[in-house]
């Protein structure tokens, strides 16, 4: 069992100054490295490959496990009898990442997710419009990131209403009913960025329908790849939402199935923010050296949450820039950053991929 410092999860979400936060991360992350070193064989191989003193290394110097390793390696630090849930990425191509959770980890993820979202939504549960089909959550088997997101966020709402039918088409009657019932009070809208855009905002626009919500918060995430393919920027996205839905505070978030719980919410100034329990580093794609604020590179996410799998330091294939720490104009402490998108996939050539 891994034991955290007492009251770690009572820390203010965006109120821990840099010196205290970095010291806490250095301590907890090296303990997590030791924990996974003892419990995960593949992780031990990664660390032993070139021995270094990870027990005394800063959290920025711990081994950053490439996110893709969760696709083809058994990266787990628990016995199969302790597996409470297996999460998998909604990966559109090839193998999906497999993340194993025990009961404690799943609980901890929810707990931290609640803390983060409450700091944006308040404690009052709002009537909630989910931009997805009801069946997405109900599908059998390992849980997809999308289902986990919908389920996780559902907790923050009441009177849940799914805006799409089983064919992922706009169910205008349900949405209209939702609006006439709750349109004048605070509501929560949640969905995956591209689904919100294509299946909801564009579908409404095509039918020339608009609503005038009095006080809505839209939380969306899941990535911008398909949006970029259609040249839809954050600005265009937000402008369309104001036009179609009325007074809405729009918050993108960045997160990944490898570190469910510690999500990065977008503030009013358009920056993503690190909560107390995680940090973002930017590494040079060339040689993985740490880059300065303002420089674009590969995003590494460090989170204190993962104990059932060695995912506390993850090297993503996303490009981003950290702009600073503790001094975002929105007033929240922690690093603030932007994501520029994924490094395009290298073309697979040659023998093993011939007949397709």
């Amino acid at each position: 069992m891994f034991s955290y410092p007492p009251e770690l999860f009572d820390l203010p979400v965006y109120g821990l100054p840099s010196t205290q936060k970095q010291a806490m991360l250095n301590r907890v992350m090296s303990q997590l490295s030791q924990h996974h070193y003892q419990h995960c064989e593949a992780y031990r191989r990664l660390l032993d490959s070139r021995p270094f003193n990870f027990t005394s290394a800063a959290h920025t110097e711990q081994f950053p496990v490439a996110a893709r390793l969760f696709k083809d390696l058994a990266l787990t630090s628990i016995q199969s009898s302790d597996v409470f849930r297996q999460m998998r990425s909604s990966g559109t191509s090839g193998q999906a990442s497999k993340i194993t959770l025990d009961g404690e980890s799943a609980k901890r993820q929810s707990q931290v997710l609640v803390k983060i979202l409450q700091s944006w939504l308040g404690k009052q549960r709002r009537p909630m419009l989910l931009i997805d089909a009801p069946s997405t959550v109900k599908k059998a088997g390992a849980m997809t990131a999308r289902a986990a997101g919908l389920q996780g966020l559902s907790f923050f709402g009441r009177h849940h209403c799914y805006a799409l039918n089983e064919e992922m088409e706009l169910d205008i009657d349900k949405v209209s009913d939702f609006f006439s019932e709750y349109g004048k009070q605070p509501v929560l809208i949640f969905g995956f960025t591209f689904i919100v855009w294509q299946k909801f905002i564009q579908a409404l626009a095509q039918q020339n329908i608009s609503f005038d919500f009095a006080d809505a918060i839209l939380i969306h995430g899941g990535g911008w790849k398909k949006m970029q393919d259609q040249a839809v920027t954050d600005e265009i996205f937000k402008a369309s939402i104001y036009k179609t839905l009325g007074k809405v505070n729009v918050h993108d978030y960045y997160g990944m199935v490898e570190q469910t719980g510690t999500i990065y919410m977008q503030c009013e100034n358009g920056f993503l923010h690190t909560p107390a329990w995680s940090d973002v580093l930017i590494r040079s794609p060339q040689d993985l050296t740490l880059l300065e604020y303002g420089e674009a590179g590969l995003i590494q996410v460090n989170s204190v949450l993962p104990t059932s799998y060695p995912g506390h330091c993850i090297l993503t294939e996303d490009l981003g820039t950290v702009f600073g720490e503790d001094d975002c104009e929105c007033g929240r402490l922690g690093k603030y950053f932007k994501v520029h998108g994924r490094v395009p996939k290298a073309q697979v050539k040659g023998c093993s991929d011939t007949f397709s």
């Binding site: 081994f63 290298a346 023998c351 011939t354």
Partner: protein, 392 residues
């Protein structure tokens, strides 16, 4: 008439349609074919410059008249044309020129050929097919029209693969283990030669007498094409009794040469190099030797050399090499004897430059060539005598 007409034309794209002559199976004079193939080589030389398409120029060079005479003269193949074979070639998605070697060797044996190219074929494949189609319209190239057709279709249309397999007397599968497995299940009685997953390695030995620039340049000629993903691209570099100083001099030269080299490496390949290193460590427990000289050791990572990267290891197994997917990661290993090379049935090519005469290692491998020649084609490929197979 052959039952090619049964292929559902809506699902396929004939880049080169079977001509009327394609269905006439009267043998053609061998010397005329040699002239037509050598003519294609000359035609290619006129079309492309070596800076832009070095692999096409290599192909053209290989099929020049003088070299053809030499290759055919040395071959045990029978070119007397008693019967015409039908050969169905399944080309790899993206080692773009290999299908053309396979096809032209079969043409030289007087066979009728259908080549299936992948929908994911690279530009070079498409360009080569376009040149061939153009050349066939000339008086010199007309003969090839009766021997060659090129088809593209989605691999999921297994019935097309089945029909073409029934048409042919020999199926040639250029592809990895999984491709071969899936194709072998289709019309399983079809006589077949196949080229499964292989890995290749380089062995270098340097001292003060070595011309390091020429060695570095030859090494890059082996590593850079196809972003190191061809079976013959060396994945590992064995240093035979070579000092660190000479190794560093070599990498310094590689770095300098890379600045002016033509290659297809992009940022994504750099990311692949990091991921691949971790995959090999995580799966096989590969141990890295730190030669950075830093006082405080860091987590395992590669050493960047321009668009490629290197990493020295303590032990190197055939499993690691077989799992190496290319993308520009060179795994280095110091050895005192060539017998330390990770030989196995999957080791295809050993490229070498040593101070004294080359001695073969004790162990399995398919081919040994001097450094710089890894991707040079040979009519005996992977232990298969293609001319003999095509002329049986």
């Amino acid at each position: 008439m052959i039952h090619l007409v049964n292929v559902n034309q809506a699902l396929v794209d004939w880049h080169i349609q079977p001509s009327n002559g394609f269905f006439d199976e009267t043998p053609v004079l061998h010397d005329d074919i040699v002239d037509a193939v050598a003519g294609f080589s000359a035609y290619l030389f006129k079309q492309v410059d070596s800076k832009q398409y070095p692999e096409i120029v290599s192909l053209a060079f290989w099929f020049r008249h003088a070299h053809l005479k030499q290759v055919l003269g040395e071959s045990k193949g029978d070119f007397s044309q008693k019967n015409v074979n039908r050969v169905f070639h399944i080309a790899p998605a993206n080692v773009d020129t290999v299908f053309m070697y396979s096809l032209l060797l079969s043409v030289l044996c007087g066979n009728k050929n259908i080549v299936r190219i992948s929908q994911r074929s690279g530009d070079v494949t498409k360009l080569l097919v376009a040149y061939l189609r153009q050349y066939m319209k000339s008086a010199e190239g007309a003969l090839l029209a009766s021997l060659v057709s090129v088809i593209e279709y989605d691999a999921q249309y297994q019935d097309i693969t089945e029909q073409l397999s029934h048409w042919c007397g020999l199926r040639v599968v250029w592809g990895g283990d999984s491709a071969i497995a899936s194709i072998s299940d289709i019309a399983p009685k079809t006589p077949q030669i196949s080229f499964p997953d292989r890995y290749s390695v380089a062995v270098l030995q340097l001292d003060d007498t070595s011309n390091i620039v020429s060695v570095a340049s030859a090494f890059l000629a082996d590593v850079l094409p196809f972003t190191q993903q061809a079976c013959s691209s060396p994945k590992a570099l064995y240093w035979l009794n070579t000092s660190r100083i000479h190794q560093e001099k070599f990498w310094h030269q590689v770095n300098l040469l890379l600045a002016s080299s033509i290659h297809q490496f992009e940022l994504s390949h750099k990311v692949e190099q990091h991921v691949l290193l971790q995959r090999l460590i995580g799966n096989f427990g590969m141990m890295i030797i730190d030669e950075t000289g830093k006082k405080i050791a860091n987590f395992a990572q590669l050493v960047n050399v321009g668009v490629i990267a290197r990493c020295k290891v303590k032990t190197l197994t055939s499993s690691v090499l077989a799992a190496h997917t290319g993308f520009g990661l060179v795994i280095e290993k110091d050895i005192v004897s060539v017998d330390e090379i990770a030989c196995s049935s999957k080791l295809q090519t050993i490229t070498h430059r040593t101070l004294s005469d080359w001695q073969n290692p004790n162990g399995q491998f398919k081919r040994v060539v001097p450094i710089g020649k890894a991707l040079e084609f040979s009519p005996v490929w992977d232990g298969v005598d293609l001319l003999q197979s095509f002329s049986q």
